[in-house]
């Protein structure tokens, strides 16, 4: 979770800089210096190879797609419904995370909770649970024959194979990523800046709005983006508790089962196209926010 720590490191590091030495100079000169020697060239080539291997799946996807196959898959009747379902459930999931998990992340970062280690261990525990296990346990927790299931049955709701179930599964799969990312984002804000804002006359809520949130926002955006990608790709818990309504991952799975690899591939592209732009936008935005701070 190091992405959120970087804004403060950049801002804090710049403060201690001697005058007339902009922060970017050190980084800019690192590139050419690495290329100058043989070992430098080797390390750049090595890094490039690893980078290409990591990107391999994406490259493969584009080499195996043809325009006609995309068109025929996407124009089949009902082909786009899972996309809509995924976008809707993902949006609701993000809203839930933002409103309920942001305060938790803030309290974790500031250490205002008693026994902070236990709280953190709890979040880590949900991160380490395999999604499939989460799905199984969710059935026993919110299924129709449980207390919760009975309670929402009075409202004519059900938490199995419904949109609600899909959202619950996605929240469970993405929440720990968001909480840990947001915690790191808040932890990167120097508490002394918040104290300074308070001494300048701002009550805590105003300090949060004017100082904490803007300073943590690049990290928060990245955490939300990661959570979005997790929610879009949620499969393990979803297949157990929310087989219907179909989201994109399940559509890929069933297409793969029923008609084979070739027809599943276009949906993989759709999933990527839907899941990636938000993280990329968040990345670009946080990079711009940081460069603006450098002046």
């Amino acid at each position: 979770m190091s992405w959120a720590a970087s804004p403060a490191a950049a801002a804090g590091g710049a403060v201690r800089e001697p005058p007339g030495q902009p922060g970017r100079r050190g980084r800019a000169s690192a590139g050419p210096r690495a290329v100058r020697s043989v070992s430098g060239i080797l390390s750049v080539v090595g890094a490039l190879v690893i980078w290409l291997i990591l990107l391999g799946p994406v490259i493969t996807l584009f080499t195996h797609l043809s325009g006609s196959s995309i068109a025929s898959s996407l124009t089949a009747p009902g082909a786009l419904q899972p996309l809509v379902t995924s976008l809707e459930s993902g949006g609701v999931t993000l809203a839930v995370l933002f409103f309920f998990c942001t305060p938790l992340a803030w309290m974790l970062a500031r250490g205002t909770l008693p026994f902070p280690r236990i709280w953190e261990a709890g979040v880590l525990c949900s991160l380490l649970l395999p999604p499939l296990v989460i799905g199984l346990l969710l059935v026993f927790m919110v299924g129709p024959y449980t207390a919760f299931g009975g309670l929402i049955a009075h409202l004519n709701l059900s938490a199995t194979n419904t949109f609600l179930a899909l959202v619950i599964a996605e929240v469970y799969e993405s929440a720990p990523y968001y909480v840990l990312g947001a915690q790191a984002a808040f932890a990167s804000v120097d508490p002394r800046l918040e104290q300074q804002a308070a001494l300048l006359g701002d009550r805590p809520r105003r300090v949060f709005r004017r100082v904490t949130l803007p300073l943590a926002s690049p990290g928060l955006a990245m955490a939300l983006a990661v959570a979005w990608a997790r929610a879009m790709g949620a499969f393990g818990a979803v297949i157990v508790i929310a087989y219907h309504p179909y989201g994109l991952p399940l559509q890929i799975w069933t297409t793969l089962q029923e008609t084979g690899l070739a027809s599943a591939l276009p949906f993989a592209l759709v999933l990527l196209v839907v899941a990636l732009p938000l993280p990329l936008a968040a990345y670009v935005w946080s990079a711009r926010a940081q460069s603006r701070r450098r002046g």
Partner: protein, 355 residues
């Protein structure tokens, strides 16, 4: 008038201190690192909560732990705090930093005025990361001025800067504090910083105020051997003819040659010398004193507040001392005297000398 009489619990000890600063007065809290100076400032600023005590500023009660209890939150105290880190908001331009406080003049005429006075008028649109250390501190100071504080607390704000800049900024703060007639408290662990700022100095150690007085009085007449150590006395030497009395030896309060009418004359051998600034620093090895039997070859540091006897005395001399092993006589100018228990003893050491 700022009045604070508080007990603040810390992990290692409890800070028990009472200070009183008149409007326009500048008090320096001097003491070693970890003496509780910053804790005291933070209690006044409302950042830490004292276990017991009373803090009053002008006619407002900021903290009172007896009934009726009062704890004014930090954002209503109107107390300015400057730290070593200027604490500028990195996501706001200099102008937005200056105008941060709600009480800052919204039309910006005062902002422009203060920015010009502090020589940051050209930088209003820059981001803080672009500023030099001195400019950042000027901006932090200007921001405080625009926020209209009733007291100014300085927590070693300029200790990371070079000497010239430190002097300029300190002089600037002194001028502004005097102009606005607010009480101000500076925390310092460098004696020179405390002296250049304050017109009164309090020596703090282990959470307790040991002595309060004018800076030169505290340095020349420390009230105990511990205070003497803190303000730079490096050793203690017995005073001939006054058994049980020890004279504090400050390396900068030493003149070459014997001048019994000016203080305590010490004779010994040069054990080493080195250049120190524009002067020389020499270690003077004192002979074993047979009559007192108290001097050992090893330097003894004061413990439990009792002065320890020094076998070598460090002196600052304008002229280069002789070679190692040469005999040298120096005069410790009008040294403060202490009993064996470390308490200050009245009387001057003059016209006495040691064999």
């Amino acid at each position: 008038m700022l009045r604070a009489d508080v007990e603040v619990d810390r992990r290692d000890f409890t800070v028990r201190a009472a200070i009183e600063v008149a409007a326009g007065e500048r008090l320096a809290l001097f003491g070693p690192s970890g003496a509780g100076k910053t804790t005291l400032l933070e209690a006044i600023a409302g950042l830490v909560q004292p276990r017991a005590g009373l803090i009053e500023l002008a006619d407002r009660t900021l903290t009172r732990t007896t009934a009726p209890r009062v704890l004014v939150p930090a954002w209503q105290r109107r107390v300015g705090l400057l730290r070593q880190d200027p604490g500028l908001f990195p996501h706001l331009s200099v102008r937005d930093n200056l105008a941060y406080a709600r009480s800052a003049d919204p039309r910006g005429t005062e902002l422009a005025e203060v920015a010009r006075a502090l020589e940051i008028g050209e930088l209003l649109d820059a981001m803080p990361a672009r500023l030099s250390g001195g400019q950042q501190h000027r901006t932090a100071l200007a921001r405080l001025l625009l926020a209209r504080f009733d007291a100014l607390l300085l927590d070693e704000p300029y200790s990371g800067l070079d000497a010239v800049l430190r002097r300029t900024l300190t002089a600037l703060v002194v001028r502004l504090v005097t102009e606005r007639a607010v009480p101000s408290v500076l925390v310092a662990h460098e004696l020179a910083d405390a002296q250049s700022f304050a017109d009164r100095m309090a020596v703090l150690d282990q959470g307790e105020i040991l002595q309060v007085g004018e800076p030169d009085q505290v340095v020349l007449r420390p009230c105990s051997a511990r205070v003497a150590e803190l303000v730079g006395y490096l050793g203690f030497a017995p005073v001939p003819g006054r058994p049980g009395v020890l004279a504090g030896v400050h390396p900068e309060r030493i003149a070459a040659g014997a001048a019994p009418e000016r203080g305590l004359v010490l004779t010994g051998r040069v054990a080493g010398s080195r250049p120190a600034g524009a002067a020389w620093e020499a270690d003077l090895l004192l002979p074993d004193s047979g009559q007192d039997g108290a001097l050992s070859q090893q330097a003894v540091r004061g413990r439990d507040g009792r002065p320890g006897l020094a076998a070598t005395v460090t002196c600052r001399l304008a002229d280069r001392p002789g070679a190692d092993g040469d005999t040298m006589t120096v005069t410790v100018l009008d040294p403060p005297c202490f009993s064996q228990d470390g308490d200050a003893v009245d009387g001057h050491v003059r016209e006495g000398s040691r064999p």
